[in-house]
Point group: C2
Chain length 332, copies 2
């Protein structure tokens, strides 16, 4: 087999059913401080990961540092960092944004996706219509890419890894993680997703968390992006989703999920950054683990419904009988 990058993963999240541990998730987590030092870690902090959508705030950074986004409002910036549900408030905002650029849905390169918002699903089904690229959970990020591209004067294929837009993203990624990226994978939205160590991702989140303590232009851009996400949790994900619910349940902490078991958090008041990767890629586990870490750090109330839907979460049968529990391993 290919050498296992997750050989150092440790048990972190348990699925209990009756008296049994039915399933178990192994993974890695790192908490970094403003100096980029590891405060605490589980598993292997050096594991190389694809951070997926959990680092969209980094992908949005060149939009601001270049000056391309100077006329954007905080709602647009929140959407540029979003994995949204494709609800009307997301697709309408993306459509208006494209129009303001003199562009349209066909200029996007993210591909169509069925929305996860129930009302949007119902509207499409009842209208016998198909979803378009605006419904793609990454359409806001791609509106940001197109805004940067207009500024840079690049060609229409802004998702190619050597396109000026993606070169700018790579540069921002390497600067904030403090590492040279070893390569990339193609994300679900067809954009390159650059790799780094998990501790590099945590370091980048801590850099965002401490940006208010610095005056350089990149840090000023970071403060604005974090503030935009904090102000508009409904635009970053959607009703019922972990990012939206957890941000609403906390005071100023920003969190962002990514596919295949990645989750990040930015804690400005504490100057801390968190990065989580579940080895097997399970979202139920990355959400449970992130909720537990936020509880441990004292920024999330363990009894808040948003927390209890993720960790120490009671699994019920379809008739509502208590059947099991999603929780973290003892000691966490």
């Amino acid at each position: 087999m290919t050498s296992d990058p997750h050989a150092g993963a440790v048990p972190l999240v348990e699925i209990r059913r009756g008296p049994f541990v039915e399933s178990l998730h192994r993974g890695h987590a790192v908490i970094c401080n403003a100096e980029g030092q590891i405060v605490e870690s589980w598993g292997d902090p050096d594991v190389v990961i694809l951070p997926r959508s959990a680092i969209k705030m980094i992908q949005a950074l060149p939009l601001m540092t270049s000056g391309a986004g100077k006329d954007l409002d905080n709602r647009q910036l929140a959407l540029s960092c979003a994995s949204h549900e494709g609800a009307a408030r997301h697709t309408d905002l993306a459509a208006a944004w494209l129009e303001s650029l003199g562009l349209g849905e066909a200029d996007l390169r993210c591909g169509p996706q069925w929305p996860s918002d129930r009302a949007a699903q119902t509207a499409l089904t009842k209208g016998d219509t198909s979803p378009c690229q605006l419904h793609n959970n990454c359409s806001g990020k791609h509106c940001g890419f197109l805004t940067l591209n207009k500024h840079l004067g690049g060609g229409p294929e802004y998702i190619l890894p050597d396109h000026p837009v993606q070169r700018a993203v790579l540069s921002a990624y390497e600067e904030t993680t403090g590492e040279t990226s070893p390569g990339y994978g193609i994300d679900g939205c067809s954009a390159p997703n650059f790799a780094s160590s998990l501790k590099g991702v945590a370091r980048a989140m801590a850099w965002f968390a401490s940006a208010g303590q610095r005056n350089d232009s990149a840090s000023t851009a970071a403060v604005r992006l974090v503030e935009s996400m904090r102000q508009h949790p409904d635009l970053v994900a959607g009703e019922g989703r972990a990012c939206t619910e957890l941000m609403r349940a906390m005071d100023g902490v920003v969190v962002k999920t990514g596919a295949d078991g990645v989750f990040t958090a930015i804690l400005p008041a504490q100057g801390l950054g968190i990065a989580v990767k579940i080895a097997d890629g399970a979202t139920r586990a990355s959400e449970a683990l992130m909720a537990r870490l936020l509880i441990r750090l004292g920024v999330l109330d363990a009894r808040h419904p948003a927390a209890l839907r993720r960790v120490d979460h009671v699994i019920k049968s379809r008739r509502g009988l208590e059947a099991g529990l999603i929780t973290t391993v003892e000691g966490l």
Copy 2:
């Protein structure tokens, strides 16, 4: 932490993206022969698991051995072993079955569930209606329970662990696995799901596979259930689903998926039984692993589309770009 039942799990399935192994699934697998001996295994054959829906053919066994199901046809028997999509052909069959018993949807105890069949979803959405218990993927199993219950004269709460129906199921489970069950968990359909070792599940599947070589009444019942599943793969799951597609792609092999990473197979011509449990519970991994084992045993063509949708499966972006691969570890 609770002691980890999956400590002996080994790497089995990789998710690759670009040049990286993005995620990795550990787990266990056992192949048993007609004598109940382990032919080959990976991970820990003694791991205690909840087999979930992967052993519905065992839960249907008392229906036949009791004589309660003597007038049922093979379509009903296939549905009794099914985790179906809630398509019209499934719900119509379940409704007619209940009517033949003088019962109705309200007598089911499986709870309502949104169907995974797209046409059924569309019909419910367009009609502004909610799914009912007939749509529950387990409604056929519960029709079987009700048929047995009518024969036994038990009370209406046939899902209680000490109800005569479930005591009969436990007895069948212990006889076919050759083990005393250490307990149960409540399944998504509210019925008890009895635990055993993974090798016990593989032994039970081998017992089904070799049933045609024996003349006792339980074995005769097993032959009929296997034949019913083989004849009606569309009733056991649904269009696009792993069980349906894999059974259609093979000659006489029966497979059955279960929640949280369980998968079983019955190979009558070879007299072999297979049981798989992915430690983290991922379906993408249990499907990939089962497909690989069936290919290894020479009963599934690696180039068949049904195989290639599960293992050596190309992951594409939403615009259709090749982004990654789901495959098994080297040596498998």
